[in-house]
Amino acid sequence: MMRIPPAAMIGLFFTGLYFFVAIFAPWIAPYSMTEAVGDVWEPASAKHWLGTDNIGRDLLTRMIYGGRTTIFIATAATILSFTLGSILGLTAAVIGGWVDQAMSRFVDLIMSIPTLIFALVVLSVMPVTLPILILVMGLLDSTRVYRLARAVAVDINVMDFVEAAKLRGEGNRWVIFREILPNALSPLVAEMGLRFIFAVLFVSTLSFLGLGVQPPNADWGGIVKENKDGIVYGIPAALVPAIAIATLSISVNLVADWVLNRTTSLKGGRG
C-alpha cells in the first residue's frame, strides 16, 4: 500500500470534490440554475446555504453549475494545449533544423502578443461559444507547453539511449513517443497542474470581462462579475467563487507536486 503525504491528501480531496461536483452537478444542485428562488442577496440560511445572488438565484446552485463550466473549459483547454504543445515541441526538438526554427519563431511571434489582449481581440470578432473559447485558450496556451516540451526534449535528445535508437534505424515517431516522451513526462505533468490553474484563471477573467461564458450560464468568473456590486454593501457573494478558484488552484498544485515526486523517485527516472 502506498503512502500518500498529508499535503497531497488534502489536494486530492478538494480536487476530487470539485471534479465530482462538476460532473454530477444536475443531481447535486438543490435548485434550478436560472430560476430566481428568493430575494436579492439573501444571507446564508438553511434554505440557501450560501445565500442568493444579485437577482435572487440560489448561489450554491450557481456555484455548482459554474464550477462545472469552469472546470470543463479549463480541462478541455489544458488537454488541447498539452496534446498540441508537447507533440509539436518534441517533434521540433527531434527533427531540428529549419522545421524547428520555423515552428519556434512562429511560437515566439504568438507569445510576443499578451495572451489576454490576443484572446480579447479574437473573441470580440468570433461568436463566443464553448468550442471557440476552448480552442482559443488551448491554442494560446499550447505555445507555452511547446516551449517547455522542446526545452526538455532537446536535453533528452542528446542522450546515448536516443542515439542508440537512431542508430538502430528507428523512425521519428518511435523516438518521440517511446524514447523521449516517457522521460519528459515528469516536468510536463508538473506544468500541467500549473497550466490547468492558469486556464481556470483565464476563463474566469474572460467571463468577468464579459467575453467568456455568456449568461444565463454560470461560471465562477461570471458569478464574481454578477455579484461584485454587493461588496460595497458588505455582501460577500462575490468572494465565494473567488475562494473556490483559490482552493482549486492550491489543491491541484498539491496533487501535481505529489505526482511529480512519485514519478521521479520511481524507476530512477530523471526529472
Partner: protein, 545 residues
Amino acid sequence: MTDALLKVKNLKIGARIYPPGEKPKDIDIVHGVSFELEKGKVLGLIGESGAGKSTIGLAAMAYGRGGVELTGGEVWVNGREILHTSRADLRHLRGLEVTYVSQSAAASFNPAKKIMEQVIEASVHAGKFSKKDAEARARDLFDKLGLPDPDNIGDRYPHQVSGGQLQRCMTALALCPEPDLVVFDEPTTALDVTTQIDVLMAIKAAIRDTGVGALYITHDLAVVAQVSDEIMVLRMGDMVEHGTTDQIINNPREDYTRDLVSVRSKQHEGQAPTDNPILRVENVTARYKGTNFDVLHDVVMELHPGQTLAVVGESGSGKSTTARVITGLLPPRDGKITFDGRELSADLNGRTREDLRELQMIYQMADVAMNPRQTVGTIIGRPLEFYFGMKGAEKRNRIIELLDEIELGEGFIDRYPAELSGGQKQRVCIARALAAKPKVIICDEVTSALDPLVADDILKLLENLQKIEDVAYLFITHDLATVSAIADSIAVMYQGKVVRYGPKAEVLSPPFDDYTDLLLSSVPEMRLGWLEEVIANRKMESAGN
C-alpha cells in the same frame, strides 16, 4: 595523548537510501574501520566504488556528504577528537589543518575567480598568512609542482590552464595553508595517462618536500603503489587488508587483494589479419559542423571478421569521432567506409536497415545508454522486434537466451536500469547489441566507467561472446591494459591522426614512435618504484637529446 596525526577508531558511517517503491531505510556504509596515520606518511585507501573510501576520507575532516551521517566511532586529528567538537573548531580544522583535493579540479574551482585568489583564500581568510606571504608561498608551491611560469600562472583563470595543470593548482591550494593532513580523493582518475604521470610525480614530490601526512584515495592499485607508504584495502565499508605497500603489492594475504593485484594481467593472443576485412575506414577526414578545423585527418584502419581492433589514444585524439563517422552520425568530408565489401552511405539516413543491423554500438556510460523508463526486456527485445519482427513467446525466449549469454538470467527481464549495478547495466547493453546479430560491434570505452574487477569480467564476457557469435569489435579505449587484454590489432591515434597501426605484437614492440613510447611508458605498473624509474628514464632521454 597520541603521536599519530590521524587516528580513526571504529568509525561507523550511515546513510539513508530510497529504494524504488519502498520506504526509505537507513543503512551502514562503513562498519567500524580503524587506522592510524603518522605525520609525513601516506596511507592509500583503495577499493571499488561503494567501498566507502571517499566517505572515510571526508570523515577525516568530520564531514559527511548530503544524507550521510557519521554514526559512531572516533576520529582524532593532532590529538583531539573532532567528531564532537565545536563548529568554530571545525572551521579551523577544515581547510587549515586538514585539506582536500578532489577528483575534478575543473568542477571545484570557481570559474569566475583567478587561480591565485582561490589558492590563498583559506590561509589569508583565517589570518594564517598575510596576503603577500601567502602569494609567495603559492608561487613556491606552483614551482615545486612543476607548473609552467609559476610566477604568473596564478593570474590565470581556471579555464586558461589544462586539466592536469589545474589538478596541480588544486594540490597547491590544499598545501598552501601548511596543513598537517591532505586528503587526495582520486586526484588523477579524470586525467589521461600521459598527464597522470606528471601530476603523480608532482604530488609525490610535494608530499615529500612539505612533510604532510596524506590519505590517498583511488580505485587504481597501481597508482597508489607509487605514492603511498601503507595501503588499506576496503570493500563494501569493511577493511579487507591493511599493510605496507610492499606487503600488499608483493605479498597480499586476502583473496580479494590478490584479485586486485592481478586484475590487469589478462592477455589475449593476437590473431593474424585475414584477407577480407569486414570494415575498412579509408582516408577519412572529418570535421564538426560549424567549426573550421578537421578533427580527423586521413584516418585509415581495417577490422577483420571475428577479430578486435583497438583504437587507443588520449582524450581529444579523435577515437570517438572515428566511431561517429563509421556509424554515420558524422558524415566525413572525405574518404569512405566500406563494410563487408560494399560502400556504406556516409549519412545515417542513407543506410539500409540491414546496414544498421550489422553494425552495432555499445557506449561508455551504460546508464545513459538505456532508456530509464524501459525494462530490460523491452530494451533487449526492441532490436529483435525491429530487425527480425519477433513477437510474443518467440521474442521472450530469445531475450531469455540473450540474458543467459550475458550471465544474468531470466530474473532480470522485468527490471529497470536503475535496479542494476554498473556491470549489469553494461551487460544489458551488450545483449542489446548482440540481439541484432551484428557482424561488427563498436565498443566505445565500455569498461572505463567500471571498477577494475568488474571491467575484467566484462572483457572476459566480450571475448567469450566473440567466439560464440563470431562478431568483430572495434574497441575504443584510452587504457592500454585493456588493449593487451582483448586486441588483435591496434591503431594508436594522436591529434586526429593514426600514428601507429598494425597487429598487436608489432605495435607493442619497439622501435616506437615518440607518442606511442610516451603512451606505453605512462601506464602505471603494479610494482614499487615504477614511477621513479619512468621519470629517471625520461630525464636521461631528454638529457641525451
